[in-house]
Amino acid sequence: MIEYLVDGPLWYLSLAVFCTGVVWKLGSIIFTSRKTDLSVARDSATSGAVRTVFSRFLPHREIAASIKMQVIAGYMFHLGLFALLFFAAPHVLFLEEHILGFGWTAMPHWAFIVSAQFAFLGLIMLWLRRLVNPVSRLISTLDDHVAAILTFIVMLTGCFALLEGSPALRLLHRFTVELWLIYFPFSALMHTFTFVPSRAFTGAWFGRRGIDA
């Protein structure tokens, strides 16, 4: 019964909520009406947008030294999670069989383990930093903590099911993934998609005014 629910209706429901939510949120951001900028353009807004999207991957020189840990842990977590999501053999197989209809080369097992370790360590350190730093703690909302803990649980159940020998552990992982997908569009996890338009908007605004920021 539980297997049927998790593999069937709940999976389709979570996928529907995720896709609809993400499209709706992104659409509402991109197509929202803005006031026309009547000022004379000093520079290209487009080049400013493109430049900012990529330049933000590195910290500003002035603050780089003081946020070294966040940058390193941030990259460890995000790259590790990206590798796990799209290059772990069970995920590649799942995407091929259930969603896309085609697959690609999966990571070898040792790379899977290393990616998971990077992702875990990065996430733990980032979440702890959010807790111990008074400024981060104050600006953090309940959503930030729920998003971090839910992502951790999804990764943890995934690592529990690594042996692929127990249907119950696989179901547990899939169930937590479904919860994560349902929570995703309503949470800070949306930054997975919104970071591009957010950076582009800021970059375009600055670019039009000739500000190199």
Partner: protein, 387 residues
């Protein structure tokens, strides 16, 4: 025009080169992974030739002397040889076509002894050690009570640990707790959890624990290295530490004893974590990677070393958790907010506290509340006058 003095390139040439190298590296990794033929279920994996029994028969024929097959004699000889192997104190190594470690060993009598030791002595003593430390802590709390600060908390604080140091400490703590819980499930779960939850649930829990334990193991080593780099220098023993030890760290009897930034007890705990942690990590890596030529004997010895050293650290860490929280007034604040009360510093680390006063590093209660983002009224510190 924008003043060029205020413009800097967001990406320097060095950074740009690093990005390009990173992207190219990722691409090459993907290409190289694609180039290596992947294992496939339908792909022939070679013919297994494991036949350690052949050497046994060769030995039987040699002992029989005739070289001819005699069913009765062969049966008796087999039984005799098997009995001899089981009871032998030494592992009898034969010859096998399989060129792997221990593949010539038909019966490993030592393995049986190790399994028995692991299932009984090791598990029993581990459970007793954990129960004992809880009893000791409860007794200590009842007899000694909470170690309070003379004069109470003043409200004025000094910075003790940076954000990074606290992140390192809590990272190590989280990883250690996870490993300790999953490790204890694997060690003690069979006698303790099967009667409570049944075999099916325990099988599930043990499988999950084993995977989680193996995955998180290397993170413990990484956390230890970060701990060594962050706290190592301040934990080097110095003059006056021995006095602290001789006076029992102030826990026995009345009054606190002199200490620097870290006292003798904290330093000893720190080096225990680092050194025993290294033993646990290295033995764990040997256990988790059995494909480097280590035989069963090495694995069995390493396993015992891993469990014994982990148990020492688990037991002492329970004491550390007690003393760092409910056992000692004001101690947890250092790792929570990074600041400690100046009276706490004077009581437990008087030399460091004195230094903070001399260098005027004391932060007032109001300033501390502001730094912590407490906009409302702060709790009134308890002082001798305020009592």
């Amino acid at each position: 025009m924008v003043n060029s003095r205020y413009i800097y390139s967001p990406v320097s040439p060095t950074q740009l080169t690093a990005i390009i190298l990173f992207v190219v590296g990722l691409f090459l990794t993907q290409v190289s992974v694609a180039a290596v033929p992947q294992k496939h279920e339908n792909f022939p994996q070679g013919v297994p030739t494991i036949n350690p029994g052949s050497e046994l028969w060769r030995e039987i024929r040699r002992r029989d002397g005739s070289g001819e097959f005699n069913e009765v004699n062969q049966g008796l000889l087999v039984n005799e040889l098997l009995r001899e192997m089981r009871n032998s104190q030494q592992i009898q190594q034969g010859i096998s076509q399989v060129g792997q470690v221990d593949s010539g060993v038909l019966i490993n009598a030592q393995g049986k002894r190790w399994a028995l030791f692991r299932m009984t002595t090791l598990a029993d003593y581990s459970a007793i050690a954990i129960a004992a430390i809880f009893v000791i802590i409860v007794l200590f709390f009842v007899i000694r009570g909470k170690v309070s600060i003379e004069g109470g908390l003043s409200g004025n604080v000094v910075k003790r640990f940076s954000d990074y140091e606290r992140v390192v400490h809590w990272t190590l703590a989280i990883v250690f707790l996870f490993l300790a819980i999953t490790g204890l499930i694997l060690l003690l779960g069979r006698p303790l959890l099967i009667p409570l939850f049944g075999k099916d649930f325990f099988a599930l829990l043990a499988s999950a624990s084993k995977e989680g334990h193996n995955l998180f193991g290397p993170l413990f080593l990484v956390s230890l290295i970060m701990m060594l780099i962050s706290f190592g220098r301040r934990n080097i023993y110095e003059k006056g530490d021995l006095t602290w030890l001789l006076k029992g760290g102030g826990l026995i009897g009345k009054g606190h004893v002199s200490g620097g930034f870290f006292n003798m007890g904290e330093k000893t705990w720190y080096w225990m974590v680092i050194l025993i942690g290294l033993v646990i990590s290295i033995s764990g890596l040997i256990l988790v990677s059995p494909n480097f030529g280590q035989g069963r004997l090495i694995m069995e010895f390493t396993h015992i070393l891993h469990v014994v050293s982990a148990m020492i650290l688990i037991v002492v860490s329970i004491g550390h958790m007690y003393l760092g929280s409910i056992g000692s007034e004001g101690a947890l604040e250092g790792m929570k907010s990074g600041y400690v009360d100046i009276n706490w510093a004077a009581a437990h680390h008087d030399r460091w506290g004195k230094l903070c006063r001399e260098q005027d590093l004391i932060v007032s209660a109001e300033e501390y509340a502001r730094l912590q983002g407490q906009t409302g009224s702060i709790s009134q510190p308890v002082t001798e006058q305020g009592k």
